[in-house]
């Protein structure tokens, strides 16, 4: 069937054109910035000074330095650990478990837990950073309430366990999203199917593993896609909490990119880092999008 325009629209085509303008601008801007980063990743452009004006083409130098200079590979590893434990293991699994256990509850408890995890999501990143900083400091809540009363020496968590602190803070911050998504997904699983499996003698584990999870598989993939992209490029909470330190302990790629671009001032090298991040996230996204497809 041929698609037909509404008669009013057909006689007022300018409305369609006008509506398309923002989209064209948006797509244009996205392409422009991506193209900008790609082009300047082959230059020695800097933020200030002579090379801010008279930059030159340096070929693949910036890309070679990703592998020959300290920083990129270390940050890639830190980002992988951070993303795996905070997003995939933490937010996703915790979000699913909470959604699965709480959906049968109709009590005050559910309301309290929902409100609590939503709070983490709603608190601005910078505020969250100060909260976690105060909580984990040597004179902070954890030491005052738990460690010291038990007779142990107070622990400076950010100094000793910077990456775990940042991972836990991000789990706290982001679990609400996975919880909401999985709650909706589980609501879509029809009760009859689960009941039928039960009648057929499936154990609780089998019902989850062989019935429920396959049904909500697209939701899992969608969730993974979003939180992986978000976490892989996540910046504010970590930067405010630790600045990537101590040393480089929590220097994820986004912070490495920021430091190289704006503190050292090497915009060309920073562009190469951002292109590399784009490629990595792109590959991960393709992987998840394949998961989204129904099996034949």
């Amino acid at each position: 069937m041929k698609y037909q325009l509404h008669p009013w629209l057909a006689s007022n085509l300018w409305v369609l054109v006008a509506l398309a303008i923002p989209a064209i601008f948006l797509i244009g801007a996205l392409l422009y910035f991506t193209g900008w980063a790609l082009a300047f990743s082959f230059t020695d452009l800097e933020l200030v000074g002579r090379k801010a004006v008279n930059w030159s083409w340096v070929g693949f130098d910036n890309y070679a330095r990703l592998f020959t200079r300290r920083g990129f590979l270390e940050s890639l590893w830190t980002t992988t650990i951070f993303s795996f434990f905070s997003a995939i293991v933490g937010q996703s699994v915790l979000g699913f478990l909470l959604a699965a256990t709480l959906r049968t509850q109709r009590s005050v408890l559910r309301g309290v837990i929902e409100a609590t995890i939503m709070l983490g999501w709603l608190v601005p990143d910078i505020v969250a950073a100060f909260l976690w900083s105060a909580t984990t400091a040597q004179t902070g809540l954890i030491n005052n309430l738990i460690i010291t009363p038990l007779g142990f020496e107070p622990v400076n968590f950010i100094n000793e366990f910077a990456l775990p602190v940042v991972i836990i803070a991000n789990i706290w911050k982001g679990t609400a999203w996975s919880y909401l998504l999985f709650s909706a997904a589980l609501d879509s699983v029809s009760r009859e199917v689960v009941e039928a499996a039960k009648v057929d003698g499936a154990t609780a584990f089998q019902r989850v593993w062989r019935v429920i999870l396959p049904i909500i598989r697209p939701h899992i993939a969608t969730n993974m896609l979003f939180i992986t992209i978000w976490t892989f490029t996540y910046f504010p909470l970590i930067y405010a909490l630790t600045g990537g330190g101590p040393g480089r302990q929590t220097e994820v790629l986004a912070i490495f990119l920021y430091k190289q671009s704006f503190m050292v001032g090497k915009l060309g090298y920073g562009s190469a880092i951002s292109v590399a991040m784009l490629v990595i996230v792109g590959v991960l996204s393709l992987f998840y999008l394949r998961l989204l497809k129904e099996p034949k």
Binding site: V48, A162, R248
Partner: protein, 441 residues
């Protein structure tokens, strides 16, 4: 029909809104700790001209990067507070307005000390007016020293003396930061200057610039030298070997606040910092939180940074920086912007601020004033300034400084001195080319 005319009206207003020039107001960017100088100046300017000033007050941490980024993006304010070391670099990129002609029309311009105007010049043109200069020293907490049984006044003669004192403090009091030597990348220039440079200058003989980051006679950056190695060894001793300071305080969510709090709670023994701390350890802008000078003297003391103690090195070291205020090359109304600048720097406002906050004067008229000349603290700090130097602010310095901070961060991370320095050397070569980097054996 109605729809069409409505759409036309919206479009017309929309375009008109974009095209109509905004009211020519003056904007200014400054760090919160300078508000006691800037804000009275803004009030005076508004009263005198009837203009409204758009005041953009920013946090001190990350301020230098924010300003550079805004200037590069074309979104910076008309009048901008700047760290003096970035002025030549920003000027070389064409972001700042030379003040030459306007400056000579202003009768107070002549009072600025020429040496300090040099710091904020590029290619013979002045691009900003300095707010203050400074000296650097080792501050110490008197109650911590008393608890550790260390004699005061404390007068260390070498790095060994400082380390020995810090070890005693750690052993006697158990505090985590017996000797806080600024390190790492989060506090930016503060780590380079308050920490690394102060040690570097005393790590080797000044001959041939062996105790610097740049050899000026040859015009090359120093990629590896005994001085750099010894300085990194000192960092290694403080952070790894003897654990006299924690890495984490250099990466705190708010470093300034963390240091002030630790100092107030007697959790820092020795703090490598500068002359501004006589007020900034409480409140840079004065105010009710600031105890009297006598009370402060009872709580904290300072001593010049000793050299390493090796033969031919300096007995004490010092390096000076300072801040400045300049005008954006793209200021909407340059004359108005310059008028705001001179109102802030008017003798009354500027002189009061300098003395009340114990800043080191950059103008002869203020330095000669009774209030300034009769202050005991300023007199001692000024004496220290008799033997000082500046940073190696040749274009490219900002990158070098960031690489220096990275070296110290590597030491905090447990990287060996050898590996940290070879990474530094390689990065310098990346940036400036093999021909512009030298090595001292």
């Amino acid at each position: 029909m109605l729809n069409k005319s409505l759409a036309t009206a919206v479009a017309v207003f929309g375009v008109a809104g974009m095209a109509m020039p905004a009211h020519a107001e003056v904007s200014i960017m400054y760090a919160d700790w300078l508000s006691s100088l800037v804000e009275p100046g803004i009030a005076d300017f508004e009263a005198a001209t009837g203009e409204t000033v758009n005041a953009i007050k920013l946090p001190g941490e990350g301020y230098v990067e924010r300003v550079a980024l805004d200037l590069a993006a074309g979104t910076a304010a008309d009048v901008i507070q700047l760290d003096s070391f970035v002025v030549s670099e920003l000027a070389s990129a064409g972001y700042l307005m030379p003040l030459g002609d306007m400056g000579s029309d202003w009768d107070q311009y002549q009072h600025y000390m020429p040496a300090l105007l040099d710091v904020v010049s590029y290619d013979g043109e002045v691009y900003a007016l300095p707010t203050d200069t400074d000296v650097r020293m080792l501050w110490y907490d008197k109650s911590v020293f008393e608890a550790a049984g260390i004699a005061m006044p404390w007068e260390p003669q070498s790095w060994d003396d400082v380390l020995e004192t810090a070890r005693t403090i750690k052993a006697e009091t158990g505090i985590d930061n017996a000797f806080l030597l600024p390190a790492g990348t989060k506090q930016g220039e503060a780590a380079t200057m308050q920490g690394f440079y102060m040690a570097l200058l005393g790590a080797d003989t000044p001959e041939d610039d062996r105790n610097r980051l740049r050899n000026w006679a040859e015009g090359k950056w120093i990629g590896d030298s005994p001085a750099i190695r010894r300085t990194l060894e000192l960092y290694h001793d403080v952070y790894a070997e003897d654990e006299l300071a924690t890495a984490s305080i250099n990466y705190a969510t708010d470093i300034g606040a963390a240091v002030r709090e630790a100092m107030a709670n007697d959790e820092i023994g020795i703090l490598a910092s500068g002359s501004w701390e006589f007020t900034c350890l409480w409140d840079c802008n004065g105010g009710p939180a600031l105890p009297s000078a006598d009370e402060r003297n009872a709580l904290i003391g300072w001593t010049p940074w000793p050299g390493s103690g090796l033969p031919d090195t300096k007995a004490t070291t010092n390096i000076s920086g300072g801040w400045a205020i300049g005008v954006n090359k793209n200021a909407q109304d340059p004359e108005l912007a310059f008028q705001l600048l001179t109102t802030i720097f008017d003798a009354g406002n500027f002189g009061d601020w300098t003395v009340e906050n114990r800043r080191m004067a950059v103008r002869t008229d203020i330095a000669a004033s009774d209030a300034y000349a009769s202050d005991a603290y300023l007199a001692e700090a000024t004496a220290l300034a008799a033997d000082t130097t500046g940073r190696d602010t040749y274009p490219g310095y900002q990158v070098v400084s960031a690489l220096v901070q990275q070296m110290t961060a590597d030491i905090l991370d447990g990287v060996s001195v050898e590996d940290a320095i070879s990474e530094y050397h390689a990065s310098l070569v990346d940036e400036f080319g093999e021909e512009n980097v030298i090595t001292y054996e």
